[in-house]
Amino acid sequence: MTQNNTFSVHVTAVTQVTPLIKHFILQAADGAPMPAFSGGSHVIVVMKDAARVYRNPYSLLSSPNDLSAYEIAVRRADESRGGSVFLHDQVTVGMALQITHPVNLFQLDKLARKHVLIAGGVGITAIAAQLEDLKIGSAHYELHYCVRGPEHAAFADRLIKQHGDRVRIYHDSANQWLDIEGLVAAQPLGTHLYVCGPTPMIDRVIASARAAGWANSHIHWEHFTAPPVGAPFEVFLKKSQKILNVLPDQSLLDAIEEAGVEAPYLCRGGVCGECKCQVLEVDGTLVHNDHYLSDEEKASGTLIMPCVSRVLGKTLVLDL
């Protein structure tokens, strides 16, 4: 249980900032400074209700230069596993939550001469703290922030106040569209590109940059897909000799942990590779929702990332 050491924080403010997004301020109970972190980091918030334990990753959007509090913003996702609904409906000022120390899987490249950051919707939460790190540096940077309409632009005023004309905002409702192809084609050598947003947006940014001749080392993205809801299935853990049932709104990793089996994990979002499991047998089809395994590994049918992937069928046997 030590591998993701958590600590306790208190919720000191909750604000509905858009129709779908709530903003939470988290502080140490004794008022001590929060642990330092770098822009692009996330924490795992561990929540318990009567029935279940939720472990959801959320980006830290507060400034790494102000450790008096952490800020996270949570988009309500009714169709997913329930962690965001729990935060929206159950968590109020004064409550204690457990969080892990920050982890950064989306860090800025310190040698970049220019940083171009693209955020879609709640994806801004992964980028806001990066902007704070960039503000005190010497490299050029610019933010392109795409939202459905003004009422969805959760942090637009604050970003413009902090970063002025380095911020461009695009409203779908006003028919303002970011010209991704034009943007990546126009950048000087030595620019790094960062994107966080809906999957189709990320895919399009990556494809555009590659088509324009960008090196992979200069393209960075954060892909925190909420694990999709699926059909229930049965799992047999061979080493532990345990049988468990994965519920429709539960991830395979959650079910493994609930059965008391300690499995390694880090991001819980299908990107880091930490929880990779060996599949011994499957009666059904593996549904790979991760961004870690290669196409060949996915096709091999021998590996699965239990944090986001599941089985369409009856049973799965894992080497755990």
Partner: protein, 347 residues
Amino acid sequence: MSAVFKTDETFRDDFKYSNSPAAIRRFPLPFSEDKYMYSVNIEPHVPGPIGSVTEFQFDVDEHYIGECRDHDLVLKEDPRRYQALPHMMSAQWDVLELLMDNLSKDYPAQFSLTKQGNRWIWHNQLLGIRDEFTFGDPSTLPREPLDYIARQAQGDLVVMDQRDGDFYLEAGMVTTQADWSLDFDLGMTFKEWHGPVPLAHELHIFDRALKFLLDLRINAPVRRLNWTMTINPRLDTSPEFYPRWGPDRATVTAENVADKAHLRVELQGLWRLPRSNAMLFSVRGYLISLRELATIPKWARRTHRTLRDLHPALADYKGLTRFRDHAVNWLAPLDDGSPTTPGGAPE
């Protein structure tokens, strides 16, 4: 910590250096069994037994003052033993904070740190240093933050930046090294830096170690032990000054091996740094003569067997070949063939 800090030790010229009986008993023998081969022997850097070298994150022992003096002597003559590329400044502050926080918490009689917001006061009693500075503003310290704090720590500190799924060695102070050079390796990737190590590449040790380190988290440091042997208790066995110490190997005889040949153990620690997301790698060296080592009967038996059976490629890489036979022959009469208990601790 009840160590009596020695004030007049030297690691060159007259070599005034020895281990007290207490320092011998806490020596980190790197041989957990009667033989040695490379492995990814990494474990969480959690507190070890009271009084052991892993009781605290950074070990300060009776040799502290002499070792810090030796840092200064090396740097005065060869300033390139400290280097930091410009983009490593946030990592430099990370290292300074990590060292000051831990030293002042674990050794309150020797070090103290007072924080009033970003205004910090640092007091190092052992070296007679007291400075007031603004955290984050390098102009308020007498030297760059890493240069400043590394001179006040035993062992070497190296910082790696993470980019593109790799680590780049881009800052450090290296004056107590077992024959490698910061100046030569600066800017290298993790595997380039480890290029000269024999056998380990074929065992895919560096592939696995790199993957492991890329996932290393804040507040979850790890450690491992490495070892070699050094003739005379000399900290600075650097490629830069090879002509000064290389010939020492040819001075070892059957008569003087017990006092000249030292087992050199490196306690290596790795910390994910929070502000920079960089990686700190510390190499803390411990030196013990064969005569001191052999005061623990288990260690004499185990070290005899380990040196006798060491793979020739490892013996060559570690530079033991010229004097290994003398060392093995001196230890042999102390090995009665009886079994040794597992692990490195004295029986």
